[in-house]
Symmetry: C2
Subunit: 345 residues, 2 copies
């Protein structure tokens, strides 16, 4: 029998923890009843966790609880985190990738602290110039991987090339039957557009795409991110963060306006009865909980960050992401891809 996929869960991170975290695990187990290839190491307040676990009647073969007495607060800054977060549920969860058998960690806690602890405990892969934060983003055909989303405010061309290789590895882990198609986010699609860094990265990526880790689609503008022609969108952390948050803000602005319009008059309220299923499907397609989970790439072990404010369904989607990342053999794919990137430095 193959080794099980072991997911370390920080049960205490995020709003409404550990309730939503444990309910998220319950949803995963419910949706994967026919599988026997996963196991959870759950970290946090043992008593509270047990109380939640009992609600769902998990099989004992599926999990183990490890007591952690402290929790990383949302106010903690990365500067003091290393000292004060030792032995917290977050710390112990990540550390279990080294000390015991966890393949991947998931936390909905403080992002900055999670990044610092992960980097310190797991260490950066030797051939990676900089680790990056990758996210999922809906597109017309399926889903994009977008990186970096804020881990590196300024990036050079070597970093961008590494991001392209790591993003492609992630895409192929999640969608093994699909081709990774890389594009560099820029303010025009012509080769002469943008910063010197982007132009250099363009030339290198064109070269490296010969290895076949990804197709290279050149530059892409912000309005083409969702059109599905490319599925690995590469950018520096500043631009990626602005783009992601602007898209989130725009989506909220539009759906709020729609809601307002549809509930304004009696007639429009009646229309909701008829369009109920259509609107439900529309809402479900763009449900941000389906895209919940940012992935730290470039460390010697993978770490996933769930939105702190998401609910059990969102947390479930992050768990599912962890499962697919390990099932898709992300770490070996990253190593293989990066050997091509460093060949060309």
């Amino acid at each position: 029998m193959n080794k099980k996929i072991v997911i370390a869960i920080d049960a205490m991170g995020g709003e409404n923890a550990p309730n939503k975290n444990i309910e998220g695990i319950a949803l995963f187990i419910k949706n994967n009843q026919n599988k026997n290839d996963y196991f959870f190491n759950i970290f946090g307040d043992k008593e509270k966790i047990l109380k939640e676990v009992k609600k769902y009647n998990f099989s004992e073969n599926l999990f183990e609880i490890f007591h952690s007495s402290t929790i990383v607060s949302d106010d903690e800054t990365p500067l003091t985190a290393i000292k004060s977060s030792k032995d917290s549920s977050m710390w112990n969860s990540i550390n279990s990738q080294i000390t015991i058998n966890s393949d991947i960690s998931l936390s909905a806690g403080n992002t900055g602290v999670l990044f610092v602890i992960s980097r310190m405990l797991l260490k950066t892969i030797d051939t990676v110039s900089r680790p990056a934060l990758a996210g999922l983003w809906p597109n017309k055909k399926n889903m994009n991987v977008v990186l970096d989303l804020g881990a590196n405010v300024e990036c050079d061309d070597v970093n961008l090339v590494d991001f392209a290789e790591m993003g492609s590895a992630l895409y192929k882990s999640l969608f093994p039957d699909d081709v990774a198609k890389v594009a560099l986010l820029n303010i025009g699609s012509e080769e002469i557009k943008g910063t010197e860094t982007l132009k250099k990265a363009y030339t290198k990526l064109k070269d490296i795409s010969a290895y076949g880790d990804f197709e290279f689609n050149g530059f892409i503008e912000g309005n083409k991110i969702t059109d599905g022609a490319s599925n690995v969108i590469v950018t520096d952390g500043f631009t990626g963060n602005i783009a992601l948050k602007t898209a989130e803000g725009t989506a909220k602005f539009i759906t709020d306006s729609l809601k307002e319009s549809l509930t304004e008059t009696v007639l429009s309220k009646i229309s909701i009865i008829f369009s109920y299923f259509a609107l439900k499907k529309f809402k479900s397609k763009l449900d941000p909980r389906k895209f919940n989970g940012a992935i730290f790439l470039g460390l010697k072990g993978p770490v996933v960050k769930s939105h702190g404010s998401t609910d059990a369904v969102g947390f479930y989607h992050s768990i599912d992401l962890c499962y697919r990342i390990i099932k898709g053999d992300l770490m070996n794919k990253i190593k293989s891809n990066l050997s091509h990137a460093s060949d060309k430095r």
Copy 2:
């Protein structure tokens, strides 16, 4: 009697020119019948323009046509533009701000060429470090001015401060009864976040806000652009362009998904009958034609760029923008604001 507001129109720029350009003028005249304070200098193929003008039966007191024999093509690059675009409708339109009495120019033609010609003919204001491209963006309360949208790929803190002062001048020209509230686009709202350039600009803007040209709201994240707490969003041209286009792409992606859902089943199609007015209102509120028009700020005369692909209604909104810019005394407001910025350099 006060001097009339004289708007120079490049009638040959953009798709479906000169038809949409002249129809746009007709819409403006129709909506401003009670006013007697504006005049159009129209540049382009005289015969074609006259043919269109006759359709709408304009009063002869409202316009003059100036024949231009050539047109700047969309394929023209800014590099060769100066030589080859001389005496084009675009060139003559901008030049009329110097040679005759035009207060402002409007074109829906080639953006890069328009920028180069405008800069060469009108020249940069002495106290401006760099001209910028500003756009309008809906927010929950009203409208944002966002700049730079792509004229300057890289910017320093002095540029960003100038953008804040010019953006505030534009905002106050368009909305004289409102207060300009400046925010710097960043990846976090805390003072310590972002690049060194942004931190320096932050300190300077905090200082300069004492002059009262604007309130300074500090850093803003991408998801807060539309919430209305700030209305002058300042950023470098690379980031601004990415943010604008990402927002456009997201808006299109969501409204396309909605359309798809609402036309999928018979039941949902029936719902459209009931929600017709609500959906129409929703659509109208976010109609991009209402926000059509990017403004070149920092030159000795103002120039407005309409989207090339917009229709007569979109072009009308750009004309209205030109009218309000001059009515609001933009140029003097810019000069006054900039004197405060240069005081603090």
